[in-house]
């Protein structure tokens, strides 16, 4: 019995020691960042913030003001901003800088992009520990500003930032897509705008709008140009259509499901209406807002974050004042297949933090990221466009409620189309969706857009759109975006996770070995007893 106890004791000790040996290294390799004791006030931290604005100087000013206010609160943290106007450029620059170890500290991003950044070792900091930290976390006791608690971050938006069960970003702003409708033209064509737009309605009115006068001009606007329906983001278009029809796009495992018959049907519809001239896209023709404002488009689908560019009285416009038509703009949700179960995409920037050797620098970065979701920043930035704040704290504040209530008072801060777009998202937060995020989801998104664009372009060029066309289109698209290789490297596959770390291999081997020893010992004892009997 003593011998048994000794053997068991040795085995248990071995089991305990192994994790201790491998534990430190293992923890560092999986978490990367270790929470420091606190922010060293005697040390100066210089952090780099890569921000994105919508080519909007007010947004630039808000970023600069936020930095100035933050630096007053934390004089030992200096924030250097670099401004971008294009998410893809940020993405490409981050990828380049991961390779050279020169990532920024704080970066505006999309979860799809983080999925790629995350394939590097400890590149992006998981925020769970930081968010929950009682001192420096959201609403923490030692945070020097009125920080929202984690419960006050809109749960749908925080969930969008979860990858592999950890939170990798804070939502910064949220928007969705809206359909900006020329009410005058719809009514002139003999229709009433329904409460919820359907695809059938939009296609029908769009076809009707193609009727011409004897002189060749379009009857509805008396002009030579009329593209009744223009979609800005063709990838969102197909993704949203598929979601509304409960059809395949991708799943949480990273499987590619987009190449299905529903997609083909939707693309056939796109081809049909492109062929008549009723439909086009931003990539083919130009910004929907430019055509819309010129009275050359009836249904313009663009982000709510582009609302200040939409409508006769839009504060921002790329076309000459003399070209602007005068009409009433109505903001509606994107067209639906089932009005009782509406779906619209959730989009908008989030903020991630990149890991650095100095944990104090990471903490400083976190404090700045957290500052960006305080009420002052949230309300002022969301008011620049049809964005909405990402915290209930900001949304429910009297300041924000007053802003919403003053819709239409002027054509700048209180521009009605912009505020209508924000209200549309607030009322439909529970109807928003996001697509699964995995390493490769950005490529799949691009492929979705490419399917629409190629179908539309081929139609315009007089090519035959049939089953044979789609078979080739699917194969070409899979090859171009390497989607045919992706299922085997999906989210939870061995391919993406890579080989187990050496420490884990040793630990698992030790546990296995220990059990073998225990079982062998009992087997021998059992055999001895049996022989004795």
């Amino acid at each position: 019995m003593k011998k048994l106890a000794k053997v068991l004791s040795a085995c248990l000790s071995f089991m305990l020691i192994i994790p201790m040996i491998t534990g430190c290294h293992g923890k560092k390799s999986s978490a990367g960042f270790t929470m420091p004791e606190g922010l060293d006030p005697s040390k100066t931290y210089e952090i780099v913030f890569w921000a994105k604005n919508d080519t909007n100087i007010t947004q630039t000013r808000i970023y600069n003001q936020a930095i100035e206010d933050f630096e007053k609160l934390y004089p030992n943290i200096k924030v250097n901003i670099r401004l971008y106007t294009d998410y893809n450029k940020i993405y490409n620059d981050v990828i380049t800088n991961i390779a050279t170890g020169t990532t920024p500290n704080v970066c505006i991003t999309y979860p799809d992009h983080i999925a790629t950044y995350k394939t590097g070792n400890n590149v992006v900091v998981p925020l769970d520990e930081l968010i929950d930290d009682p001192r420096y976390g959201l609403g923490g006791s030692e945070v020097k500003f009125d920080s929202p608690s984690s419960d006050e971050v809109i749960p749908e938006y925080l969930n969008e930032c979860v990858l592999d069960d950890s939170i990798y970003a804070l939502p910064y702003m949220r928007s969705t897509e809206a359909c900006y409708v020329n009410k005058d033209y719809v009514e002139a064509l003999g229709y009433e705008i329904p409460e919820t737009l359907t695809w059938d309605f939009v296609w029908e009115v769009s076809e009707k709008a193609l009727e011409k006068n004897p002189d060749g001009t379009y009857a509805v606007n008396g002009k030579d140009v009329m593209i009744p329906f223009i979609y800005k983001s063709s990838d969102n278009m197909l993704i949203t259509m598929l979601k509304q029809q409960n059809a395949g796009y991708s799943d949480d495992e990273g499987n590619i499901l987009i190449f299905n018959d529903t997609t083909k049907q939707d693309l056939m519809t796109v081809a049909e209406h492109t062929g008549t001239g009723a439909f086009s896209t931003f990539k083919i023709s130009g910004y929907p807002g430019n055509f819309f404002n010129a009275g050359e488009c009836i249904f313009a689908i663009d982000s709510t974050a582009g609302a200040t560019w939409m409508g006769s009285d839009a504060p921002l416009s790329d076309i000459d004042k003399n070209q602007i038509a005068h009409f009433t703009t109505v903001v509606k949700t994107v067209p639906q297949f089932d009005v009782d179960e509406p779906y619209m995409i959730s989009q908008g920037p989030s903020i991630c933090i990149f890991n650095k050797p100095d944990s104090g620098e990471v903490l400083a970065s976190w404090l700045f990221a957290q500052y960006m979701i305080t009420n002052d920043v949230q309300i002022s930035y969301s008011s620049t466009e049809g964005y909405v704040p990402v915290t209930s704290k900001a949304r429910e504040s009297s300041e924000y409620q007053e802003y919403l209530s003053r819709s239409g008072e002027d054509n700048s801060l209180y521009y009605s189309v912009k505020i209508d777009a924000a209200k549309l998202l607030i009322e439909n937060t529970s109807n928003t969706f996001v697509t699964p995020v995995f390493n490769g989801s950005t490529s799949l998104r691009n492929a979705a857009g490419q399917l629409i664009e190629n179908t539309a372009k081929s139609t315009r060029r007089g090519q035959t759109i049939n089953d044979e066309y789609f078979t080739k289109l699917y194969e070409d698209t899979k090859a171009l975006y390497r989607l045919d290789q992706m299922n085997s490297a999906g989210k939870n596959s061995k391919g993406e996770l890579g080989p187990l770390p050496a420490g884990s291999v040793i630990l698992l081997s030790a546990i296995g070995g220990t059990w073998i020893v225990i079982i062998a010992y009992f087997a021998v004892q059992f055999a001895k007893k049996k022989r004795a009997v």
């Binding site: 909007n56 630039t60 106007t85 083919i284 023709s285 130009g286 790329d318 007089g462 171009l480 390497r482």
Partner: protein
Amino acid sequence: MKRTAKIVLSVMLVAAMALSVFGCKKATADGNSADTKKGEGVMTYAEYSAAALDTEVTVETYIQAKQGWWENNGVGNATFYTQDADGAYFLYNMPCTSEEYDKLDIGTKIKVTGYKSEWSGEVEIVDATFVIEDGHYVAKPLDITDKLASADLINYQNMYVSFKGMTVEAAADGSAFLYSWDGSGSQGDDLYFNVSLNGQTYTFTVESYLTGSDTAVYKTVEGLKVGDTVDMDGFLYWYEGANPHITNVIVK
């Protein structure tokens, strides 16, 4: 009289011989020239202009400027300003490898097949393929200062042009230029600056993908002062109206 006739005939003969020797080339002052005779199946500029949008076009043209090379899903592509003796062709995001891009020096002759397209008023060739051919031509900037206010301006779309004796006007914030159209950008972004002529003010651009912050034109525009008189060269890009992409500025 007879002698005069002989001289005239001789001159005509020499001219005809010269034409036959130098073929269908349009000579320029520095000797480089563009073929005016097109190859089999290649459109003249007039035919290209007349072609409907979304139809396949084939042209022979010469690189005048390169607007960056980038890779999209493993496919390299770049945008080019090109021109022959009669007009300009904007090649948008034409697939080419990095090695091919390096070979496409200014003046290189290429045969391009693609689709004629229009984006916000800019007529361009998209989804194009190309082959390099023998030939070299670098266009001289065509002075179209007097066309700026005319409806005829669009006929010079995408050409290498110049504007002379214009005055730098203040941007919305009083400065001589803005980073990005409304000043929301920072160094490295496109520069926007206003210049006037005969009481009309126009907004010109230094396109950062074409001429980045390390180029002379970018630095010159960053140094402009309101009231400066400038001569400029550039390409007559179009976005909802004329939007010249300036590549050279001389402060007078």
